[in-house]
Every structure is written in C-alpha cells, then in structure tokens.
Amino acid sequence: MVTQQDSPYNWGMVVDIDRCTGCQACVLACQVENNVPLNTENLYKQQRIYSWIRIERYWEGDFPDVKARFIPILCQQCGNAPCEPVCPVYATYHNNEGMNVQIYNRCVGTRYCANGCPYHVRFFNYWEPVWPESLRNQLNPDVTVRSRGVMEKCSFCVHRIRRAERKARGEDRLVMDGEIQSACSQACPTDALVFGNLNDLTSRVSKMSKDDRHYKLLDDKLGTDPNVVYLARVEEKVEEGAAAAHG
C-alpha cells in the first residue's frame, strides 16, 4: 500500500447514488472543461467513446416491476492502482495527494494501463482529436489537448486543484473545504458528486465518506483502495407489485 506523505491533501470524491438521476450534466461539464474530443457517431459504433465520467445504467426486474439504476463511473483514483505498475514509462503514477495522474508527454501508448484498469475509465486516442477551427475558440487553455497515441483519463480537474493550491500557498494557508470543485461536481444539480480533501476530517467529503451507506467499487474484491467513495441507493422493499393489473 502506498501511503500519502508530505501533503496535507488527499483528494477524493463521494458519489451519492441515491441522488444521481442520470441526467448527464456531469458528463458534459467534464467534456467541456477538459477538452475531451467529440464523441462522434463512429466512435460510438466502435465502442471507443471518450468519457472521463460516464453514467452507467443497469436494469433490474422486468416490466412493470422494473428498475433502471444509474451510477456515475470515473477514475477511482486508486491507492493501489492496477494501472500504475504496468506502465513501462511511468506515464501514470500516484502523486502524494491521493491522485492517479497521467503524464501525457511520457505516454507511449502501450495501453497496458487501460487493460489493467477494472473500471474501464482510461481512454486511448486512436486518432488525432479534430475540432472545426472555430470551435477551438472554446478549448480550455488550462488543459492540454491530447494527441494521437496517448492515453487520457479523469484528472480530478487537476488544473483547478493546482490553481487553488497555488493561491492558498500565496496566502500562506491550506485550501479550504469547498474552494475546489471538479467540473462534474460543480455541475451536478442534485449534489450527488462531492469533491474535497479526505485528509481534512472536517471536510464535507470526509464526513460523507464515513456515512453508513459508504462502499468502494470492487475494493473488497480487488483491493484497489479507491479515493472515490460511493453511497448506496436507498429503497424500501416494495411488497406490492406496482401495476399487477396493467395490460
């Protein structure tokens, strides 16, 4: 287990599935913020869309007693990340703030990391990303546009973190709770995504991560020790069929 040292920060996120409605606001906010290439129709058909955060939908039951359940999946920023040791060039590494970080200009595109990731949250640039010239006006200058042959993934909006940390350092203080929001958590209208410093025991994310409903995705099976904590969906057991008379 890699321990976090020399940093007062351990960035993490809590995802409350009970609040998630699957509305996709986080998905688009992330794409806009991070210069994620356009997911064309062809990319969809090749099953190669880029989605640093995505909403997965799972069915349960059958009509009329059927449920569609949503869960946002993003890089889990694992403490024991399967993607890290397999990279031959250290393009992916673990920093001392709890984040699994991708260095684009080191990546040589072996894709070992994507193969190793059990969450399918690493995306390979099979092609040079292309925007019509006028749309490039929108690109975020804080974020590198990745080139062909490079792996990319959720960075926890590291550029926002760096900016806030620089500002805090300049003011001789620590980053305050709520001072940084990732683009997805900023957008999420139901507040299902909460970002913050897990080392700060008074932070919102710290408190929420200890909720009775908390669990970590696949952690009990794979021991990945994610920094993303999920809070379980809440449902009462329904005894009576909703529409037994339907049809």
Binding site: V27, Q47, Y58, E60, N137, P141, T190, R233
Partner: protein, 772 residues
C-alpha cells in the same frame, strides 16, 4: 517543465524511480516512501498562465431562465457554469447549458443578413443597412405577426410592443406546449404563472407525467431541490417519490416507485387517490370540504379504486398505497404535466391532479405549492407559454389566406415542431414577407425571404424574469460576456449577429421607449434602485448596476406571492375517456405513440450543437440518432431486434427509427425521442434521424385546444434492414450480475457493509441474473 531540470538529471531520476519500483516487488522491508513514484516534471497544466474572468448572466438555452457564470479569457467564452448566487439554480446546471458555447463558435453560424429576390430563389448576402430597410418597410405595411418561442422579461415585452405598433400580434410557439399546464394553474390555483414547488421540504411527492428531473419546465431547479428531498439522512428524513407515467423517464427511474398507467388515465387516477383519502378520512374535514366544494354530490363514487384500477391499469393496492402515503406521510406535493396533459382530456387530468394539493392542504404550506408573485418591474411579462395548436391552426389559416403581410420568426421552428398535416411551407409561401432570426439556419428560417443572424445571449443585453420564480420576485440581468465570436486567427467575426430585441427596437425607431436593450437594462436598474430593498441595494443606479451585473440579477425573498386557501375547481369533463387517433389501415401491429423530449436535445432547438448530439440518452444510452423504444417481449414476438429499421405510420405520415427493445416499456406503447429529423440545422443536425412530431395527428385537448401529442396511434412495419445503433452500452444488456456490484441498494437506515455481507451470503453465482 521547470527550467532547472536538465535532461541528464531527468533521466537519472526516472532511472532511480524505475529501480525503486522493481525492488518494491521483492523487498518489503524498505520504507514506503522510497517507492512513491513522483513525476520529476511539473504537469503541463501548471504552465498555462493567463487571467480569466467570470461574468454573470442569464441563460437563454432552456425555458426556465437560469443564472449562469461564464469563464472568459482574452474575450473568448470558455466555460459556462451555474451562478451560485442565483436562486433558480443555485450554482448548478443541466446537460444543455454549455451548448451555448458551441452555438457561439458554431462553424455554420449565419455570417451576415441574407435575402431572396423572390420566393424559391437562393439567398444573397446583404448588408445590415439593407436588411433593416427591408424590415422597416415590410413591418410598416402593417398586418404583422411576430412568432417567437415563449419569451418573458424585456424581450417578451419588446416583441409584444413591436407587434402591437405595427398592427399585428405576437404569437408564441412551443413544440410540447404548456398551455394545458398554465390553464390548470389558473383553474386550480387562480394563478397566472407557474408556482414554486417546494420539493426540498416535501416528504412525499407524486408526479403524474412530469419528467421534472429531465426535461420538464425547470429541471435544474427541480433537481437541486430533489437533492435536498433525498437528503443524505437515510432514515425518516428521506422523501418518497412516486412517478406515474406510461414511459420510463429519468424521473421515473429515480422514483421510489414507478407506476406505469394507461395513457390518458392520470386524471381518473388522481381522483381515485382522492376518493380513498376522502372515504378513509385521512385528511382534515376542512381540506375535504375545500376539495369537494365544487364537485357534484357523489362525484367521487365512480372513482373508486376498484373501478379505476381496471381502467388505468394500476393495481388497487397501489392506488391505496399512494393515497395513504400522500395523506399521512406529509408534507406532500402533487405535480402534473408532460404526457398527462397531452391528451384530449389533458385539462381534466391536470386539474384533477393539481386539485389533490388542495385536498392535502399543500397550497402555501411547507413542502407544497407556493404561488409566485408578479414581476417587480411594471409591464415586464413574468410568464409565457406557447399558443395552443388550435390557435396556430387559425393563425396559419390567416397566412394561407394572404391576410398577413409580414411574419417575423424568432426561436419558433414551426416547420419542425408542428405536425406535417398543417403544412407550414404552404402557409409561409402565402405570406409576402417572411423574416427569420437565426444563429444557424433551421427548417423554418430556411423558408424565409430575409434571414437575419441573431447574436447569442452571450453577446447581448437583456432582462429575464424566470418562470417559475423561486416563490419570490426575481429578475435576471443578461449582459454581453464575450466579444463577438471571431474566427480562430481573430481576423474576422464569425457572425455579424445582432440581438433580436435590438433589431426590433431600431426598426421601431424609438417608438418602443428605447433604441437599444441596454437602455432598458439601465432603466430597470433605475427602477430597482428607486424601489430599494432586495438582494442588491446601492445609493445610485450606476452602483446598483454594477452589483446587479456581478450577482447576475436581483431578488427579494420578502416579496412573495399571495397564498390563500382556495376551493378546488369544478372539474369538468369528468367522464371523458381520452380519445386516440384511428390507426392507419394496413399491415403492422398497433401501438400508442409516446413522443418524449430528448434529455440532451429537448425539442430539437439545440440539435446543431455536437456536444449534445453526442450525449447518450440516460435510459437507452443511444446518441446521434432516432430510436424507438419497444417492450423487449413484444419485440421478440414480432421478430424485432435492436437496430432494426422500423417504419412508424400514423394516418398523417410515417417516419423511420431504429428499434431499441428494452424491459421498461409497456407492451402496447412505443417511445420515440423528439429532437432529430432536421432538414437544416448545420453539419451535425441535418438529415440525422427522424422527426416524430411530424406524424402526430391533430387531436386536441377539449378545453384549451392544445395538441394532444400523446394521442396518436401508429402501426409499425419492420423493413428487414438492420443498422448498428450508436450507443454507450456494450453488446450485452447491462444487468447487475453480482450482488451490490456496481450498485448497492440498502433499505432506509441501512448499512452498506452489512447489506453487502448479507447479499454475498445469499449469492448464487449460477443463478440467471435475468431472474432478479
């Protein structure tokens, strides 16, 4: 990269790290810190410098009137986020907000005014001077119709005043019109405008047909409140949501209980719930008296749960459960809209649904319905809705008869949004002068004689009055946040667009009280300054203006709407069954057609934005196309597979769509998203998918004349062709295989660890996940 790191040093550091990593595997006695692999380079993100500014303004993409802040660097808008100060959306946003950036920089934006020399000829670029001269001349000849999307605030006033000045009318258009909803508000609450739903404080919510978390009215506001409603507390504080609608929307998916009913029976279901509450005396006598005051004696007797259960396709026990939850686990709130109002008995349905709030004592009570006040600035419309389909038929008849000289269209894509049977093209052909404002050419503006490029809301001034307001007076201030969008090299502007309001004001030559929208904004600041109070106060109007622009608007939490106890209205049309169109003759199975607003594209107004085309639908995960949702058992019986190209036929037309069978569709229904099927709309929208609105039959709500857009019956024919659907889901249907992976469900007050333990103990790895 820091300059101090030489290549040699860099390589030696990398080498050391590599060695450490290898040793780590073999030797566990070396301290952890030796193996923390740190990048010896600064991230490239650190190297970017520059100052960004965030400007507050009011969003013009959706209808709700949300407040946004826009990140601007070197005059270019880069990111849109919710304005944390603004009471409507409290810093949050929906999936469509950022699309305004792509519309701002869209490569197919109309660059300059264009005109035709005659009907049917091609467009020729002209100058703004020539365009304005034409507009003035044509408007001056009288008999003008100004057709817009529903617009409130200053822009709504300017459009109305302009039409009135030139002896014309202002008519508004919504593809999924909300006239039935507005009618119900008047009838039930006596309110001219939509009320505030206090979702955050409600304990039990029943929503009939309203996809309020996805596409209905003001989804960002409702979603912020839904988050509060769910509350992190898993015990008694967590609200219960019942969603009653035939199609599974994302609101139905989020609900604790989705109750799929037979289409058009929502009003009867609401009265069946009322009948249980009244019969069992679950609420106070006062509330029962208010609810029944205008009902004929014994009227509720025919709405017994046992009777309605069979008619509505909802079990008797479910009706009782819903009634008891609403009556005894309050505060309770009942909402209705969407497909519930889109039937021939739509007004009856919504009146009955909203009347439940009176029975439950929810009007003006915490967690219930709060009426909204009027605009704080005299004369500014605080409500707007599309004219009914019947009114549009009458208006188009005037156009067709040659009784209208000039039609000015803005934000009303009637060629796409009205059923094909009304023949918009023919009507426009009989209007001598058609002027259209557009950013990217759409199906309607392509038929105009004069096309004027419209500036984005990010480039213009305005005053917005959001609807629904948050229960108190609120005004949004819109300001130009970026310089006019330019080409990448900065050599020329992408579009010489101008604001709709500014162009009308110039054409009216000062007759509407100002020559620019900015003047109105200044006037509004003067008014608010002299009124005093509210969220921004200042000794002078100019100081106040600064504050207003910084905060994105003005609101006064003390200026609330009147709330008075009111009796439920006399419900009419009590025994009217919903009427559906006759299916076309010929082969193919008959289904109820249920069009629904696309989560990303809504009614198609934002279809030109590629980001939104590429958003996968939450339920099906499909994108970039038009699909048809069909029950998976029905599909199997009919030999239909995913991706099969189906022809959907009504008596007025047919469209093609790709089959997407799934398990959350009633066996006799088809769900088809609205938003695609544009002939125009730029490179990402043109010729993509089909327009389901085009085949709707002209059934209308009996009271308001609104289009009963859920009342069309269709047949389907399988063409035998199959195409892969662009979708995020893999090739296998996503069903959780192992317990609690990836979605863990606990009971209220439950513990994740204990639940997982229990699930794993009872887990049978050989069981068929389809049996869950």
């Amino acid at each position: 990269m820091t300059d101090q790191v030489s290549r040699r040093k860099f390589l030696s550091m990398v080498g050391a790290s590599t060695t450490g990593a290898v040793l780590f595997v073999a030797c566990s006695s070396i301290p952890d810190e030796e193996f923390i692999i740190q990048a010896p380079v600064e991230l490239p993100e650190d190297l970017v410098k520059g100052r960004d500014n965030w400007f507050a303004t009011t969003c013009g993409v959706c209808d709700g009137g949300e407040g946004v802040v826009v990140r601007v660097m070197e005059g270019r808008a880069k990111k849109i986020a919710g304005n944390p100060d603004y009471p409507i959306n409290l810093g949050k946003q929906n999936v469509r907000c950022d699309s305004a950036l792509q519309m701002l920089y869209h490569p197919d934006r109309i660059a300059q005014p264009m005109a035709r020399s005659s009907k049917g000829s091609g467009f020729t670029p002209i100058t703004w001077g020539e365009a304005e001269a034409k507009l003035q001349e044509w408007a001056g000849s009288g008999r003008v119709t100004v057709a817009t999307n529903p617009i409130r605030g200053q822009l709504g006033k300017v459009a109305g005043d302009f039409a009135a000045k030139f002896n014309g009318k202002h008519i508004q258009f919504q593809a999924l019109e909300q006239g039935v909803l507005h009618g119900a508000m008047k009838s039930v609450f006596g309110a001219d405008r939509l009320p505030e739903f206090d979702l955050g404080n409600a304990r039990t919510v029943a929503s009939f047909g309203a996809d309020f978390l996805g596409t209905w009215i003001s989804p960002t506001r409702y979603s912020t409140k839904y988050g509060e409603f769910r509350n992190a507390a898993t015990g008694s504080g967590r609200g219960q949501l019942f969603q009653i609608e035939p199609r599974m929307s994302i609101t139905a998916a989020a609900a604790d209980k989705w109750i799929p009913n037979r289409p058009g029976m929502e009003g009867e279901l609401a009265l069946a719930v009322a009948a249980v509450i009244v019969e069992e005396g679950l609420v106070s006598d006062d509330n029962i008296a208010r609810f029944t005051a205008n009902l004929p004696e014994g009227a509720l007797d025919v709405f017994k749960a046992s009777t309605i259960s069979l008619r509505a396709g909802v079990s008797e026990a479910t009706i009782h459960d819903l009634a008891r939850s609403l009556a005894t686990e309050g505060p309770s709130l009942v909402i209705g809209g969407g497909s519930a109002g889109a039937h021939t008995n739509g007004s009856f349905n919504l009146n009955a649904i909203y009347s439940l709030n009176i029975l439950l004592g929810s009007v003006g009570a915490k967690g219930g319905v709060f009426l909204n006040p009027d605009s704080p600035i005299d004369g500014l419309p605080s409500t707007a809705t599309g004219a009914s389909f019947a009114d549009w038929e009458a208006e188009l008849a005037q156009w067709r008869a040659g009784n209208i000289n000039t039609v000015i269209i803005r934000g009303a894509n009637i060629a796409h949004g009205l059923p094909r049977s009304v023949n918009v093209q023919q009507a426009l052909d009989n209007v001598p002068h058609v002027v259209a404002f557009a950013d990217v050419l759409d199906d309607t503006s392509a038929m105009a004689d004069l096309v004027l490029p419209e500036a984005s809301y990010l480039e213009t001034w305005g005053i917005e009055v959001p609807e629904p307001a948050p229960g108190y007076q609120t005004v949004g201030f819109q300001q130009p946040v970026s310089t006019p969008a330019r080409t990448r090299d900065g050599s020329s502007v992408l579009s010489d667009g101008r604001g709709f309001g500014d162009v009308l004001l110039r054409a009216a030559d000062g007759a509407l009280g100002a020559k620019t929208m900015k003047e109105f904004v200044d006037d509004a600041a003067d008014t608010l300054q002299s009124n005093g109070g509210g969220s921004v106060t200042a000794p002078t109007a100019s100081l106040l203006m600064r504050g207003l622009l910084q905060r994105g608007g003005w609101w006064d939490t003390n200026a609330r709407g009147q709330t008075r106890p009111k009796d439920a209205p006399a419900l009419t049309n009590l025994h009217a069954d919903p009427e559906f169109s006759e299916p076309t003759e010929g082969e193919g199975e008959v289904f109820n057609l249920m069009p629904f607003a696309s989560q990303a594209l809504l009614d198609g107004r934002v279809a030109p934005a590629p980001w939104l085309q590429a958003v996968s639908d939450p339920i099906t995960t499909a994108a970039w196309t038009t699909w048809v949702e069909i029950n998976h058992h029905t599909a199997k019986r009919l030999g239909i597979s995913q991706g099969d190209k189906l022809i959907i036929k009504s008596t007025t037309g047919e469209i093609e769509a790709l089959a997407y069978p799934h398990r959350a569709v009633p066996p006799d229904m088809l769900g088809v998203p609205i938003g695609q099927g544009h002939e125009q709309g730029g490179r990402w929208a043109e010729g993509r998918g089909s327009n389901v609105l085009s085949i709707l039959v002209d059934k209308k709500d009996a009271e308001t004349g609104a289009l009963a857009w859920a009342a069309t019956k269709v047949r389907i024919i399988n063409t035998g062709l199959n195409t892969e659907i662009a979708k995020a889901e893999g090739t296998v249907e996503a069903i959780a295989v192992e317990p609690g992976v990836p979605i863990l469900v606990v009971e209220p007050g439950g513990n994740a660890k204990e639940t997982l333990h229990h699930l794993e103990e009872s887990y049978d790895p050989y069981a068929d996940p389809n049996d869950n």
